[in-house]
């Protein structure tokens, strides 16, 4: 009896574990299956570097370059803001602040991660968007910049908490050695501790980027969604994710437009997969 129970429990755990992998594979197969049909109609190269995304005009044009550039621009902006802030915040929490405040700050960062993205989008819409509009005297505040700023908030918790872990596990003896040579606290931090923690910090940044590229709701609400090739941060842009979310509902099942959205999904999947993979490689390197 006991044996059977053990056996069942073991199997159940095994199946639950395997299921997650099965689901990933199934999702990927489904994406490929639906998306691949699209390339019968449009060449892969034209799809990637085509400058016009007019899915419902006739003839329809499916050039996703504006969407790729839109995603990249918003992500780049978010990274420019969140990497220095996030790493500085992680350093502060790991190395400077006293233990009491440390717990408070860590809880704060975790709470920031718990805010639903639609709420972040909403707050951005009513506060940040008008602000950007007024500061830069723009016709609209729905711009790549607004998206970048809000997304930076969403990347920060990931970057801060993982980078903080990476800094905390740097052995204390490195810092002692640096101080014993007459280094100031700051010199010890940036010449030794940051260097020792670099792989972990890099992984943290990669996971932050992954979060930003995949984010949909907030960007859809505040980037303006104009599918044009962006020339500056002060222009409305449209991202890969927002395109899928906005157009999937109105595309006709089985149409070229429908398949095109799946093809966009494949590209997005590949990008996030690569980013997460790189992050993973670096995280494993630290564990060794």
């Amino acid at each position: 009896m006991k044996k059977i129970k053990e056996f069942l429990i073991e199997k159940i755990i095994f199946i639950s574990g395997s299921l997650s992998i099965v689901f990933v594979v199934l999702i990927f197969i489904f994406l490929i299956k639906e998306g691949i049909l699209f390339f019968k109609y449009v060449q892969f190269k034209d799809f990637i570097v085509g400058k016009n995304w007019y899915p419902i005009s006739s003839p329809a044009q499916f050039g996703m370059l504006p969407l790729i550039l839109g995603s990249l621009l918003v992500t780049l902006g978010a990274m420019i803001i969140s990497i220095p802030l996030g790493v500085a915040c992680a350093l502060y929490i790991a190395e400077v602040v006293n233990p009491k405040l440390k717990d408070l700050l860590k809880t704060g960062v975790e709470l920031l991660a718990a805010i639903p993205s639609v709420v972040i989008g909403f707050i951005g819409m009513v506060t940040l968007v008008p602000l950007v509009k007024n500061i830069f005297h723009l016709p609209t505040g729905l711009t790549a910049l607004s998206g970048s700023i809000m997304l930076a908030f969403m990347a920060m918790p990931t970057i801060v908490s993982i980078a903080e872990d990476a800094i905390t596990v740097v052995p204390r003896r490195y810092k002692e050695a640096a101080l014993a040579l007459g280094a100031t606290h700051w010199q010890a931090l940036y010449r030794v501790i940051l260097v020792a923690a670099a792989p972990g910090i890099f992984a943290a940044i990669m996971l932050g980027i992954g979060r930003v590229i995949g984010e949909t709701m907030a960007v859809m609400m505040i980037t303006g969604n104009a599918a044009v090739i962006p020339h500056s941060f002060l222009q409305p842009v449209r991202t890969l994710t927002a395109t899928i979310a906005a157009e999937m509902g109105e595309s006709i099942r089985g149409s070229n437009h429908y398949y095109a959205l799946f093809a966009v999904g494949i590209i997005l999947f590949i990008i996030t997969f690569i980013i997460n993979f790189i992050a993973d490689v670096f995280l494993h390197r630290i564990k060794k």
């Binding site: 490195y174 050695a177 014993a180 040579l181 007459g182 260097v195």
Partner: protein, 251 residues
């Protein structure tokens, strides 16, 4: 003239009285060994000389330590330049997780000792030569210092320290992680370094203290029981506790 002078030094970890009324005076360009059983406060005493105990929040210190006629506990003391002048080698070799070259360049950069690239390279080479590592490592300057043997790592730590031109070298059981041959090499190096530096070494190993030191202090339970010429301590100590210890009656 003594280089380091401790006067009525008392140190507490919270309520625990770890150094009790220590008075001693350490001479220039000599090797001074501090011996005593485990937990008697040797490391604690050593770490007061470069104020490394400041890193521990519960520590409270009374009395004074005078180095070069200056009380290092005075409010005007610049701790970073004190630590540059009074360098430390740790029990467990602790090279930075950087390349061999960068390990030595670290101190040169933070103290702006070498300004041009040429100067930097030259000084790194000098540093490695002074600890007899140059021939072994001149082709491995770019490799990580974490790949060195323990002896090489400890030598590198000494080289890194010497590169910033300290006056005093504090060594806290610098050989305890090393095998007997490596230990012998480091001891030879210490005798060589004595020409230019004042060395204070903490050691468990009485033979080592007898071999290298000119002066020896014996500590027990936070007190400096006896401090004298090494010869005297090891052949004819004044105090009974010292005699018991060196004849092996304590742990």
């Amino acid at each position: 003239m003594s280089l380091i002078r401790a006067e009525k030094l008392n140190l507490y970890y919270g309520n625990f009285h770890a150094l009790i009324n220590v008075n001693l005076s350490i001479e220039e360009k000599r090797i001074t060994a501090i011996i005593g059983p485990s937990g008697c406060g040797k490391s604690t005493l050593l770490r007061t000389f470069n104020r490394m105990n400041d890193l521990i929040e519960t520590v409270h210190i009374d009395g004074s330590i005078i180095i070069n006629n200056e009380n290092i506990f005075s409010k005007t003391t610049d701790i970073d330049s004190l630590r540059r002048k009074v360098g430390m080698v740790f029990q467990r070799p602790n090279p930075f997780p950087l390349s061999v070259y960068e390990n030595i360049a670290f101190g040169l950069k933070i103290h702006k000792i070498a300004k041009t690239r040429n100067e930097l390279e030259h000084t790194v080479e000098q540093g490695l030569k002074s600890v007899l590592l140059w021939d072994q490592l001149k082709d491995k300057l770019k490799t990580s210092a974490l790949n060195l043997t323990l002896e090489q790592a400890q030598r590198l730590c000494i080289a890194r320290l010497i590169a910033v031109k300290p006056e005093i070298l504090l060594m806290d059981e610098p050989c305890s992680a090393l095998d007997p041959i490596a230990t012998m090499h480091i001891e030879e190096l210490m005798l060589e370094l004595k020409k230019n530096y004042t060395i204070v070494i903490v050691t468990h190993n009485m033979q080592q203290a007898a071999r290298v030191s000119d002066d020896t202090g014996f500590m027990l339970l936070g007190k400096l029981i006896e401090f004298n010429k090494a010869e005297k301590i090891f052949t004819n100590p004044d105090k009974k506790e010292t005699e018991d210890y060196i004849t092996g009656r304590y742990g």
